[in-house]
C-alpha cells in the first residue's frame, strides 16, 4: 500500500468502516510510515475536537413543546389543509385511545423485559454499577490511558491479575480503571470511551468453563457477557449494540493491537 492509497482509506479506517483485511493492511502501513501516522494523529485529534458537546445543537424548547408527545398537542400541529376536519368527539376518542396505548403498552413491554433481565443478577448489578460509576467522581480510581499504568495499579488490590489493553487504535481509548463489586466479590473495572460514551468492562475469575456470549438490552444499555481463559467479562454501555459488539471483538482479539498509537 502506498501513501497515496491511504489518503481515502485512512478516513474509513478512522471511522471503523474498513473490512478486516483492509484495516490490517492499513494498520501495517501506519506502523511503517511515519508521515501517514502523523497525519492519522492529526485527524484523530480533529475527530476528538468535533466530539465536543458544545458543537451539538439541541432542539430549542419552543420547538420541542410544539411537538410534545401530549396527544392533543400533536393533533393541533396537524396541517389543517391536509386533513379533513373531524368532529371534536372523534379527536377526543382518538386522543383517549392514543393515551391508553401510550400508558399501557410500554408498561407491558418493560414489565416483560424486566422479568427477563432480573433473572440474571449479574446483569442487573452491572447496570447499577455502570450507572453509579457515571455519577459524580465514581468513575475512576486510576486515571491513565496507559495499559502499563492501569494493570500494575490493580496489583495487591485483587486476588487475580486482570487483563488490561488499550484499544485506542480500534476507536475505544482506555481512560482508566476502578475497583468494583459484583456478584459478592471484588472485580476489576476498566473504563473505555467511545466518542462521548463511557464503556465499563468488568472482569473476575470464572467458576465455570467458557460459555457462549450473551447480549441483553435494558433501559437503553447494552450488556454483553462472556467467559474466556478462566475469566468472566461483562461489558456495558449506552453506545449502540453494534459498537459494543465491536468493542468486545476488539478486546477478545489478541493480535489486533497495533503498536501504533498516534493520538497520544
Amino acid at each position: 500500500m502506498t501513501c497515496d492509497d491511504t489518503r481515502l482509506l485512512m478516513h474509513a479506517y478512522l471511522d471503523d468502516e474498513l473490512d478486516a483485511a483492509q484495516s490490517a493492511v492499513m494498520a501495517r502501513h501506519l506502523q511503517e510510515c511515519t508521515s501517514c501516522t502523523a497525519n492519522y494523529g492529526v485527524y484523530s485529534r480533529l475527530r476528538k475536537a468535533l466530539a465536543q458537546p458544545g458543537l451539538y445543537h439541541r432542539a430549542p424548547d419552543a420547538l420541542r413543546e410544539r411537538w410534545s408527545p401530549a396527544p392533543s398537542a400533536a393533533q393541533a400541529t396537524l396541517p389543517a389543509s391536509s386533513q379533513p376536519r373531524r368532529a371534536p368527539l372523534a379527536y377526543a376518542m382518538a386522543a383517549g385511545f392514543a393515551g391508553a396505548l401510550l400508558l399501557t403498552s410500554p408498561a407491558w413491554i418493560t414489565a416483560l423485559q424486566q422479568r427477563g433481565a432480573d433473572s440474571n443478577p449479574v446483569v442487573a448489578e452491572a447496570i447499577s454499577s455502570h450507572i453509579r460509576s457515571l455519577q459524580a467522581q465514581h468513575l475512576m480510581d486510576v486515571v491513565s490511558t496507559d495499559q502499563h499504568t492501569v494493570k500494575p495499579w490493580f496489583e495487591g488490590k485483587l486476588d487475580f491479575s486482570p487483563r488490561v489493553k488499550d484499544l485506542v487504535s480500534e476507536g475505544f481509548p482506555l481512560i482508566g480503571g476502578r475497583l468494583d463489586a459484583i456478584d459478592g466479590r471484588s472485580v476489576a473495572a476498566l473504563i473505555y470511551k467511545r466518542h462521548l460514551h463511557v464503556i465499563n468492562l468488568y472482569q473476575w475469575p470464572a467458576d465455570s468453563a467458557a460459555t457462549a456470549q450473551a447480549e441483553v438490552q435494558r433501559h437503553g444499555y447494552t450488556v454483553i457477557r462472556w467467559t474466556a481463559e478462566g475469566m468472566r467479562y461483562v461489558a456495558i454501555s449506552d453506545v449502540s449494540a453494534g459498537d459494543l459488539k465491536q468493542f468486545v471483538l476488539a478486546f477478545q482479539n489478541d493480535a489486533g493491537t497495533p503498536a501504533v498509537n498516534p493520538s497520544r
Binding site: 497525519n39 485527524y43 475536537a49 458543537l55 382518538a94
Partner: protein, 189 residues
C-alpha cells in the same frame, strides 16, 4: 383499561400518531442539529425542522420500520434544500467531485498540532465556512455518529462518494483551522 377499549374502536389514526410519537419525536434533536448546521442560524433551522416534521407526519405511512432517524434526517435535508431554493445538491455534487478540488495534503504542519487547543467557537466558524455538501457529511458523521451506510441513505449518495467527501471535508476543515494561525494562536493563549 378494558372499558376504554370497549367503547373506542382502535382507530388507525390514533395508532399512527402513537407510532409517530414513539419513533419520530425522539429524533427531534438530531433533526434540529442537522438543520441548524445547514441553515447556520436558529430561526431558519426552526422553520426547516417545523416543515420537515409536518412532512414526516404527512408521509409517515411511507415509512416502513427501518431507522426513523435516518428517514427523518433525509427529510430535513431535502426540506432545507427546497426551502432555501439552493442549487440542487446534484449540481454541487458534480462540481465538487471533479478535480477542481483535488485533495490537498501538505502533511502535518506544526500548526496542525495545535488542533487540540482549538476551542468550540473557532471550530464552529471553521465548520460553517465549509461548503454545504462537505459540512453535512461531517455533521452526520461526527455529531450524529452515522455510519457511512446511513449517510449514504440520508444524502442519496453512493458509499464511495460518502467516503471521498468525508476525506475532503476533513482535509478542508484541517486547512481552515491551520491556515488561520492568527485565530488559532489567539485562542491558544
Amino acid at each position: 383499561m378494558p372499558v376504554d377499549l370497549h367503547v373506542i374502536p382502535p382507530s388507525p389514526d390514533s395508532v399512527r400518531s402513537a407510532r409517530f410519537e414513539a419513533l419520530v419525536l425522539p429524533c427531534l434533536d438530531a433533526a434540529y442539529n442537522l438543520a441548524r448546521w445547514l441553515a447556520r442560524n436558529d430561526a431558519d433551522a426552526q422553520d426547516v425542522v417545523q416543515e420537515a416534521m409536518l412532512r414526516a407526519l404527512r408521509y409517515f405511512d411511507s415509512f416502513h420500520g427501518n431507522d426513523a432517524r435516518v428517514w427523518l434526517l433525509a427529510i430535513v435535508r431535502n426540506t432545507y434544500y427546497t426551502l432555501c431554493m439552493k442549487t440542487p445538491p446534484d449540481n454541487l455534487r458534480e462540481s465538487l467531485d471533479e478535480d477542481a478540488h483535488p485533495l490537498i495534503d501538505q502533511g502535518p504542519s506544526p500548526e496542525a498540532l495545535t488542533l487540540l487547543a482549538v476551542d468550540v467557537g473557532t471550530l464552529q466558524l471553521a465548520l460553517e465556512r465549509l461548503p454545504p455538501p462537505l459540512r453535512e457529511v461531517l455533521v452526520l458523521r461526527e455529531l450524529e455518529e452515522c455510519s457511512y451506510k446511513e449517510i449514504a441513505a440520508i444524502t442519496e449518495q453512493k458509499i464511495g462518494t460518502v467516503m471521498s467527501r468525508l476525506a475532503r471535508a476533513r482535509e478542508r476543515l484541517k486547512t481552515e483551522l491551520t491556515c488561520r494561525p492568527k485565530e488559532v494562536r489567539r485562542h491558544d493563549l
